[in-house]
Structures are given as C-alpha cells and as structure tokens.
Amino acid sequence: MCVHRPVPPAGGAAPLTCGRPFPVSSLQEANSENIAALPKKASKPQLSAGKRIFHFLISMKLALTLLFVIAILSIIGTILPQGQDVLNSDWPKSPLYDFYNTLGLFNMYYSWWFLSVLGLLVLSLSACIFNRLPTTVKHVFKPRIDVKDAFVANQPLAESFAGGSSVAAAAEVLRRRHYRIKTGKTGSMLAQKGRFSGLASVSFHLSFLLIAAGAVLGGLFGFDYTLSVPNGQLVNVPHSNMQVENHRFDMQFVGKALLDDGRTVQVRQLMDGTVVRDINDGGNIVGQPFDLRPSLYSTDLEIFQNGKSIQRKTIQVNDPLELNGINFYQASFNQSSDGTVVSILEVNHYPGKTLVYIGAFLMMGSITLALYFPHRRIWLKLGKSGRLLIGGRTNRSKLGFKRDFERITADIKLRIGQEAGADDS
C-alpha cells in the first residue's frame, strides 16, 4: 500500500516491495531512479525471521492481494443477507443454513476471518508507513542537490546549452515559473514544485489507519441498541445514568387524493387520520387518499439525569439529539396491542467517531495533494564540458511536465541569447 518514489520505466521490471529492502544509499545513487540499478534479490540471502515478516508485510503484492480479497468477500456479504435480515429471509429453511452460519457468512463483516483480513491490511499499511517515512522525510526536507553530470543528463527530460551561460540565469527563469530553488555546495541547483506531494502518500495511508483505529475504538468501547419508548412514558437509558421520556411521537404521510371534479391533488395525512390539503385547490375530496408515503417521524424527547431534566428536543430522522457523547436517533415506531404508540429510538455511543472523521478529512486532503500537485524536480548545473545541463522529472502527469519543461528550455534559450548579445556589445 505504499507509494514508491522511483517510478520504473514503462513496461520495465516492476519493484515488488516498497522502500528499504534496498539500502537507502542505493536509492540516492545517480541512476537509482532506474530500477535496473537496484541490487538483485539474490544479494540478500540470510534474513532474520523478523525482517522476512517485515518484507512480506511491506510488499505491494500483499497489499493489492488484500484489497482484492476484501473486495471479493464484501461482494459475498452483499449477496447473502446479513445480521437480522437473515431471519426475515428464506435462508433459515435451507439445508446449508447451519453450515453457512457456522462459517459466519450471515454476519460476515464482523466474523473473525473478515476482521483478520482487515487487521492484516492495517499491519501491512503500518509497516509501509514505518518503512517509507524516513526516506520520504529526507526526500522532502533534505533533497539531493549536488549531483553528477550523468545524473542530470539521464533524467527523463534533459537539455543542455552552449557554454558561457550561468546557472543563476537559468534558475531565474524557473523562479519566474514558481519553482522553489535550492543551491547546493558545488553550485548545482534544484528547482522544485509540489515537494509536499511526497508526504501526501504517507499521510493518505496514515488517514486509513486513523479510520481503522476509530472503528476499533467504537467497536471495543462503544454501544449501540434500539430503545422502545411508549408515548408518555419514562424509560431508563442503558449504559448511562439517564432516563428518557417520550412526550409525543408524531408521524405524517404525504399522498394524493381525488377531487370531485376529477383532479388529483397532493394531501397530507396526520397520525390521527385527518387529511390536510391546500384550501386554494377548491373542490371536495372523494374517497380515501392514496399513494401515501411517510414524510415525517418525530418524537418530543426529554432527558433526565438524577431526576432532573437536562434537555428537551423534538428529534426527527436526520435530526438526532446528542448529549454527553450519547446520541438518540429516531429509528422507527411500533403500535403495542393496547393501541399505545411506541417510538423506537436508536441509541448509541461511538467514542472513535472523531478519529474516523479526522481520518476522513486527512484522506481527502492527501488524495488532492497527491494527485493534483505533482512533485516536479529540475536539476541545474554547469557540466564538466562547460555546458549548462538541465534535467528534470515528475512523479505525475508526464505530459503536463513535458509542456512546462519545453517552455522553460525555450525561455532559457531566449535568456542566454540576450545575455550573449549583451556580452558582444
């Protein structure tokens, strides 16, 4: 799951692991960005068990396999009824039911084997982040500036200019194009754009971990149940020292009704059966309203703690009551045998929710950064031959960078031409 900095040439041998199975120094080597220069597998015969497990965990093959397995298992979970739904289906009558049930297929997303696969993915991600972080940080904050001539010349996009031109003049052209310039000890320069893009892939994977951590926290310390509260009654809220009173459950339907002049108008039906309609429509309703659909469920709730009222609110679907980390949602309703209307509330407490949301926002930010702000790097140096060498690469959007690079080299040419002209006079 971790993103590799060195992108191999199209169709070339693909690295199956991320980051450090190869020494860091080799990653920094002149042509290390070309995968062929990396040490072969044969060069690491005796590895300790721990290292071997680590290499297994950071392999992209494992991560992609896990994604694939999760996708396939999830499909099974959407085909077979899950949780309570299975009791309303024909499955309990099937001869396969007991077998499937033992396997946990009817509660698949919470079965030990599904959670194990998710856990393995989390492990793999953590190992990848751990593995990538040092090189990424170094790459972003301490990039390599002093490079050899061949390194510049071997970049995917490279150009050289006739002698007499200065590195500083070329750097000025890049600065105008919003590149940040860094000068090295030997006078070489590195012009960069979007250097934090590299961090984005790490923070993206980190966000994944935050979401997983939030989910685990919710699973371990959270609770979640439905609470039936009959109209006008006070009920204890389990897992808390609160009581909840249902002052009034209400519902409305919206539907159509036929008028005596043949027109159909929209009407509302209240809980007691009263039909409400727009008086401007005129005419009289014939028969019963039809096509009724629920348009409102609400409960006037009051919460008590130690006998004292602490909050009152009319909750609706999409508008819950939140108090001390416990949330009360309008879920449904029921009618008991004596005719009392019972409001059914969903009560829950998920301590990890904030982590999940932080993870979600970090994820959105990281994806945007990683995909839309490519890291463009251009090295500039005066070569041994006396020519000005420039060479650059990007991690995304090669075509866009190519256009940028062509404009830059054209500008540098123009600039050099002017300088040469100035020298002549």
Binding site: V3, P8, G11, P15, V317, Q335, E346, V356
Partner: protein, 353 residues
Amino acid sequence: MIVKLEEILFIVTVLTYLVASGVYIWHLISNSQKAGQLGTMLLVLGLFAHTMALIFRWVDSGHAPMSDSYESLAVFSWGIVLFYLIMERIYAIRAAGAVVVPTAFIIASIALVLNKGPNPLVPALQSYWLWIHVSIAMLSYGFFALAFGAGFFYIIQEHLLKKHYQNVVIAFVIMFSVLGLAVGLWLGFGVWAHPLDIVDPVTKEHSNQYSGTDIIKIIGGGGIGLAIGVLLGFLAGKGASKPGFARRLPSLDVLDEVSYRAIAFGFPMVTIGIITGAIWADKAWGRYWSWDPKETWSLITWLFYGAYLHTRLTWGWRGRHSAVIAVLGIVIVLFTYLGVNYLLSGLHTYASA
C-alpha cells in the same frame, strides 16, 4: 400545469438529443464542418430545454431532483452534455461527440420512460446532504465512465495501429454486448417488470415482489440487450476497421493520459462521496458505516480504483494494462450505480422507487 410543462420540456430534450446524435455521427463519417456546427447548436438547445425541465421539476417537488431513478438519470445525462460541451469548447474533440451524445440520449430516454412524476421525500432523504452526496457520487461515476471510454479507445487504437482488425471487432463486440446486457437487464427490472407493490399497513413503507412473468421479462430484456449489443458491436467494429479511423482517434499517449486523469479526478470524488454518505448516515441512522450493499459496493469501487492508482503510481503500469483496468472498472461502477438498487436490498432501496 407546471408538471405538464416539465414533461413536455423533457420530451423535447430527448428528441433534440436524438437528432443531435444523428448529426454528430454524420459529422464523424463525413467530416463536414457544417454538420459539426449544427450538432453543437442542437446540443446547446437540448441542454437548455433539459435545464428548464430540471428546474421545473425542482420547483414542483420542492427538493433537489436526485431522489429517484428518473431524477438521478436526468441529472446524470444533463451533466454529461454540459461537461461534453465545455470540453468541446476547450479542445477540438467533436469526433468524440459521436459516442458521447448518443450515450446521453440513451440515458435521458431511459429516464423519460422511468418518470413517475414527483414524489415527496421519505424522512431519511430529507436532508441537504441529499444533493451534496448524490451529485458528488454521480460526478465520480461520470469520470469513471470517461476513463472507461478513453481506455476502450486506447485498446482499439493499439489494435488499429498494429492492423489487428479482428481484435478491433472483438473489442467492440465485447463492449457493446456487456453494455447491451446491462441496459437490457435494467430495462427489464425498471420498466417491463411490474412487481407487486407491497405497502406495510402501518408504516406505509413500500417493497417489491417479483412474479415468474417478471423474471421472464427481466431475462428477456437481458437477452434482447445482449443480442442488440453483439450486432451493434460487430457493425461498429467492422466500420472502425480502417486505417483512416486510427487517424481520427487521439494518439495512444493522449488516450492513456486522459484515462488516468479521469480516474485521478474520479477517485477523490468517490472518496468524498463515501465520506459525505458516512456523515449523512451518521446523522440519519446513527451509524457512519453499516455495510449496506450500496456502501459496500462503493467501497469495492474505491478499492478497485485505489488498486489502479497503485499499479500505476507504484508499479509504473501504463498503456494497455491501465486501459484494461479502466475498462473493467465500468462494470463495478454500473453495478454500484444501478445494479445495487435493483438486485440487492438495503438501506438505499428507496433509490429504485
């Protein structure tokens, strides 16, 4: 009054798109500039009528037109046409109109058939998250469709350049037959089959019950769609198997880049779609994630395109490999968008109402 006007406007829209489709195809075949300009003019007119129809629908129902299949598809086709017209203005890609405009026509005409008039929103949908969540989700579907189109033409272009005309025909037949099968099955489910509408006496919640004849209609729909797809694919493949056609298509590099760029836009969109959905579900049902089929399939879509990005950005896959993944992705997207609503039950089932 206002409802009738909306329906008339939408019929005008669909008819205009039909004529525009013909003109765009004529433009591709004849390369006539006049035809191209006429096509654009018709498309702009159609988009105007389409926009008015959607506005009337919005005013009439009192909520963003995204609550059922008609509204969702009407907005989707509107987005395709708008996006295409912008693209046409920026890049000179009128040839692509021969594919895009008929697609928009097919989607709009299916919407027309499914229109059952405006309905009040069930309580769970009464939230401003409706239009945020749905429009972002549909935007992501649109980008994945674009990635599919570019990926498909990458494969076609590659075979054309190698003069493997037999493979060109096979590729066209496979694509058209899969799409034909999907559209046919879905027509069977959504239009031809008339399941028993079962209304819970107390809650007035609706659910569907399919009879044997319905199943035959659904399978029949799939069969007819498949047959038409194979025929159209064969004709299109034969028609495209000319050296001249390769010159009309963009270069392999451009197709590869467009396909990747579309996924690079679609992936964040589907991420935001899932996250806004989670926030909304949290507000409505008290759970940000319940493994509902729609949620699960959107996760599968997310995993799939996440894997695409990894193979591309980490393993450096390009060209044909990436194109094949982008093409396969559309099957998952179609299932997430439509298949889940008709084939699987869950919290999102009101979407098929």
